[in-house]
């Protein structure tokens, strides 16, 4: 019986203009967006390679260990072909040097805002917005349409169990709509393979999981459409209800959730945070200058009563010691400022995490956001991309600065300038700097952070679990509603 109804259902769907229209539109969209995704990834990859090359060149042209600086670049992930996530929004690079903190800046969208105007078109977006609309609009009259057409009464003239009927309805709609999703997705994967995007074995697994989560999300909207249809008598009413549900779940809830979270858990702006750090740094340098001045007075005091020749000799003897003493003071300032910065950054990161948690918790009211979070988690292109890269870059910065400090000590130069102004000896300017270029072959290289498969898996599981639960609920709802449906 189930088979008969399923076949009837499939025939009904496959023979309407809906099916070829959906299939054609989905195929075009998914293949087009995969193609665009591949090009975008290639562009990002080329930018990344160019950046690494430029950073290496720049490193070679510098001539002092003391002020050596470089740039760390965030590596694009091949999974962004399907799910770019916030890859265009998060900064691509961070300066690595002794004075500035790590901060990802120069996002692709900030560099070329024209691409930010309408943002990207990608497979995840197509599934999330377009396919869900198709799913709900092609199922809203599944039950009440047949009632209006009179075929429902006809069907139940025979000994058909209602449960079998509604299950066959769901299965038929699912098969008829899953084909337009799965076939072009497989085509898209072929395209990715043909273009030689370096996905790797793990990448293919992630792609497969992404495909499955897309199917699950899509199933939810089919079940919801049938459920709404089984709740209402007239297709005109269920059409409006389905459309309103789609607008609410896909367009409104996610956006509203982040806005509410932003208002409920405000985070001080970066500029303000940097203002605190600057204020601390200025204060700390001010104290350092005062200490320097008092040290200078002590040194002058020691020379009290010496002859000019004695002074000269004394200064010569003490010069290295004094320089080391002053340098140690300077290092202390840097250390203190770095420590303060770490504390402030940590507090800020905690606040941002709390805000994100609230935003995501609210957004998960809608399966559209759960799906988006799950796909970004699978692709590694979600919001944690920023934190994990910055964390890795901070570790890299420490290693880089340690290395340059060691090199500076090895070569025994101070770098910078030495300017002495003395009422007796006049003005002296010297720049004790290494000559020529440095051997930068051994400078540590930034290694992009590895993902946390465990953490990702658990968050993806939560999100897909939510979608699965809602799908089951909708199916059960459709089932229960249809049990009491008046077929006349």
């Amino acid at each position: 019986m189930f088979g008969t109804i399923l076949v009837k259902e499939l025939k009904a769907v496959l023979l309407t203009p809906r099916f070829p229209a959906t299939f054609a539109v989905c195929s075009i969209l998914i293949v087009l967006s995969t193609f665009i995704g591949i090009r975008e990834y290639r562009t990002a990859e080329a930018r990344y390679a160019e950046g690494l090359e430029l950073a290496a060149q720049t490193l070679r042209t510098q001539s002092t260990w003391m002020s050596l600086s470089t740039t760390a670049y965030r590596k694009p992930d091949p999974m962004q072909v399907f799910v770019p996530g916030v890859a265009g929004d998060v900064g691509r690079l961070s300066p690595i040097d002794g004075t500035e903190d790590v901060k990802l800046d120069n996002s692709a969208y900030a560099d070329d805002p024209i691409f930010a105007l309408f943002r990207s078109i990608d497979v995840a977006f197509i599934v999330q917005v377009v396919l869900s609309l198709f799913a709900i609009l092609f199922t809203y009259d599944a039950v009440n349409g047949e009632r209006e057409g009179g075929t429902l009464q006809l069907t139940f003239a025979g000994p058909v169990p209602r449960g079998t009927f509604i299950m066959a309805k769901l299965a038929g709609a699912w098969i008829a709509l899953a084909v337009p999703l799965v076939v072009p997705m497989l085509l898209g994967l072929l395209l990715v393979a043909a273009y030689g995007v370096p996905l790797g074995a793990e990448g293919w697994v992630r792609c497969a999981l992404f495909l499955l989560s897309s199917l699950l999300y899509f199933t939810f909207f089919i079940a919801l459409g049938v459920f709404i249809s089984a709740l209402t008598r007239r297709p005109a009413a269920s059409f409006l209800a389905a459309l309103a549900a789609w607008v609410l779940l896909v367009l409104i809830v996610p956006r509203l959730a982040v806005m509410v979270a932003g208002a409920a858990r405000p985070v001080p702006g970066v500029a303000e945070k940097e203002g605190w750090i600057d204020a601390f740094a200025k204060d700390r340098w001010d104290r350092q200058l005062k200490a320097l001045a008092s040290r200078w007075e002590v040194r002058q005091g020691a020379m009290e009563g010496m002859t000019a020749a004695e002074r000269e000799a004394y200064q010569q003897a003490k010069q290295q010691e004094w320089a080391n003493e002053d340098d140690a003071g300077r290092q202390d300032v840097h250390k203190d400022i770095d420590a303060y910065r770490v504390r402030v950054n940590e507090e800020q990161a905690n606040r941002i995490a709390a805000q994100q948690q609230l935003a995501f918790a609210l957004a998960r009211l809608s399966p559209a956001s759960s799906y988006q979070l799950a796909s970004m988690g699978l692709a590694g292109t979600g919001v944690e991309m920023k934190a994990s890269n910055e964390e890795a870059m901070r570790a890299y910065r420490r290693a880089f600065l340690e290395y340059t400090a060691m090199k500076q000590k090895e070569t025994g130069t101070q770098g910078g300038f030495r300017i002495t102004v003395d009422s007796q000896t006049g003005f002296h300017f010297s720049a004790p700097r290494e000559r020529g270029t440095l051997d930068v072959g051994d400078v540590p290289v930034f290694v992009p952070p590895a993902g946390h498969p465990g953490r990702v898996a658990s968050s993806v599981l939560i999100d897909t679990g939510l979608v699965a639960a809602l799908t089951l609920l909708s199916c059960a709802g459709a089932f229960v509603a249809f049990m009491r449906y008046d077929v006349r």
């Binding site: 539109v25 969208y109 105007l117 943002r119 806005m259 932003g262 001080p268 200025k282 956001s369 003005f427």
Partner: protein, 470 residues
């Protein structure tokens, strides 16, 4: 006769469930957009104010303007950007002004808080562009084919009713039925904006009115498309399917793919390359200047203060000369990039304008001052401020260190030094564009929308003349 058709159309729509559901949901959405926009504007304004205060606070306690090495300036939130976000959250809104040299923009909102970039904001522009256009289609898809199916079409034409009058009545009637009720939540939203303490100037009210006007024109374009498609199809389910495909292409697909495909076809030199070139050139210039610095010998040889003053002046001159070379170099590089970018946006936006959604977004964002021109405007005003800042510091200290080295003498004679008054510092005030500034950019877009309405009205007209009423 036209009046009669309009009145019938109005009655039909206004008494339908479809209307009540969509009107209620649009009203809620519009009010939410205004309320959340106002809240976001206020919190953003607080954040910028806090950052500005913090920026001044760190200078307090300094006793010498020489030690004010830089000043942070901020692009303040714009009330209209809360309604039409445009690229306001994509570009960096902070600059560090040194008095000389280039000022990279930092802290793009979406880059710093990617959680907002994930779903973006629910703003008025989005509601018009995506939600209201969808509802326009829902109202228009059965305008002709639906009446035919119900048999009312034949009934109407049993009377001596010219087909053109019927068509005009349909479009005008459905437009009035959608647009007039929408004005209620829109006006309520404006009132909410004022109540929530968002200060709008007269010019901004005018710009907001124009944005709403453009939005209604855009909704009108979708009504015209809907009626035209409806007049070309015999069954309303077919016309809905066709319109859905059109809506998806026009709103979701064309703007995005046209810009991505056409934009990437134009090769724009990367910022990284330019920055690296600048960095290396600066290093080279600085190395050259080091030898000049080493050769410095002051005329005055005994008074340290005079020596330092002379050295500062010397360094100032050196820095200015170096900066001049650097500016020329940078100008050449950025001109190349700017030209490529202009070509890129001409090509990409030109193709994307096939879609009325692009035209509307461009019109609304230029009216709101959040289009691509925002960045240029901010940078130009920041440069003016940089000059003012440099002049101020020069007036206070006699040199413009421009982020370079500064020398100070502290004489530990216990003399009390007076702290600087940070309020003397020139403040940066962003001047939003006036209606006169933004009209030239938005008029062609509005014209394109109007043309779209007329073209599809014409199409509907022609199609309906041959329509089989039975």
């Amino acid at each position: 006769m036209l009046k009669l058709v309009i009145a019938k159309e109005l009655r039909d729509i206004l008494t339908s469930t479809k209307f009540i559901v969509s009107f209620a949901s649009c009203s809620v959405l519009i009010l939410v957009a205004f309320a959340m926009g106002a809240a976001a504007y206020r919190s953003e304004a607080d954040r910028v104010e806090a950052a500005r205060r913090e920026n001044l606070k760190q200078m307090e306690g300094l006793t010498d303007w020489m030690m004010v090495r830089n000043n942070r300036i901020f692009l303040p939130p714009q009330p209209l950007a809360a309604l039409v976000a445009g690229v306001a959250d994509d570009i960096g809104g902070t600059m560090v002004v040194h008095g000389r040299g280039e000022m990279p923009q930092e802290d793009a909102r979406y880059g710093e808080e990617p959680v907002f970039a994930m779903f973006r904001f629910l703003d008025l522009e989005f509601i018009f562009q995506t939600v209201l256009s969808l509802f326009a289609i829902v109202f228009a898809f059965d305008a002709v084919s639906g009446e035919k199916e119900r048999g009312t079409l034949r009934l109407s034409f049993a009377n001596p009713l010219p087909r053109s009058t019927f068509m005009a009545g349909k479009l005008i009637g459905s437009f009035l039925a959608l647009a007039l009720p929408l004005l209620v939540p829109l006006l309520a939203g404006c009132a909410l904006f004022t109540l929530m303490g968002v200060p709008l100037t007269g010019a901004e009210w005018l710009r907001l009115a124009l944005i709403i006007g453009a939005g209604l024109l855009y909704v009108g374009a979708f009504l015209a498309i809907g009626i035209a498609v409806s007049a070309m199809t015999a069954r309303s389910s077919t016309s809905f399917l066709a319109l859905l495909v059109i809506w998806i292409s026009v709103v979701l697909i064309i703007p995005r793919s046209a810009i991505l495909i056409a934009g990437r076809a134009v090769d724009v030199p990367s910022l990284d390359d330019i920055n690296a070139k600048k960095f290396r050139y600066a290093e080279q210039l600085f190395a050259e200047d080091r030898t000049v610095m080493s050769a410095f010998a002051p005329a005055e040889k005994s008074d340290p203060r005079a020596m330092i003053a002379e050295f500062q002046k010397f360094m100032g001159g050196l820095n200015d000369a170096r900066q001049k070379k650097m500016d020329d170099f940078a100008a050449r590089l950025s001109e190349e990039r700017a030209n490529a970018q202009a070509l890129q946006s001409a090509v990409a936006l030109g193709i994307a304008r096939v879609s009325p959604a692009t035209c509307f977004t461009l019109a609304a964002s230029s009216l709101a001052g959040t289009s691509l021109a925002l960045e240029d405007r901010f940078v130009a005003q920041a440069k003016d401020y940089q000059d003012a800042f440099a002049k101020f510091i020069l007036g206070k200290t006699g040199v413009n260190p421009g982020g370079g080295m500064v020398f100070r003498m502290r004489i530990g004679n216990g003399e009390e030094e007076t702290p600087i008054d940070t309020h003397e510092l020139p403040t940066f005030e962003y001047r939003p564009p006036s209606p006169g500034d933004v009209l030239p950019a938005s008029l062609p877009e509005a014209g394109a929308l109007a043309a779209c309405v007329f073209i599809f009205f014409g199409v509907a007209h022609v199609a309906f003349r041959r329509y089989d009423l039975r």
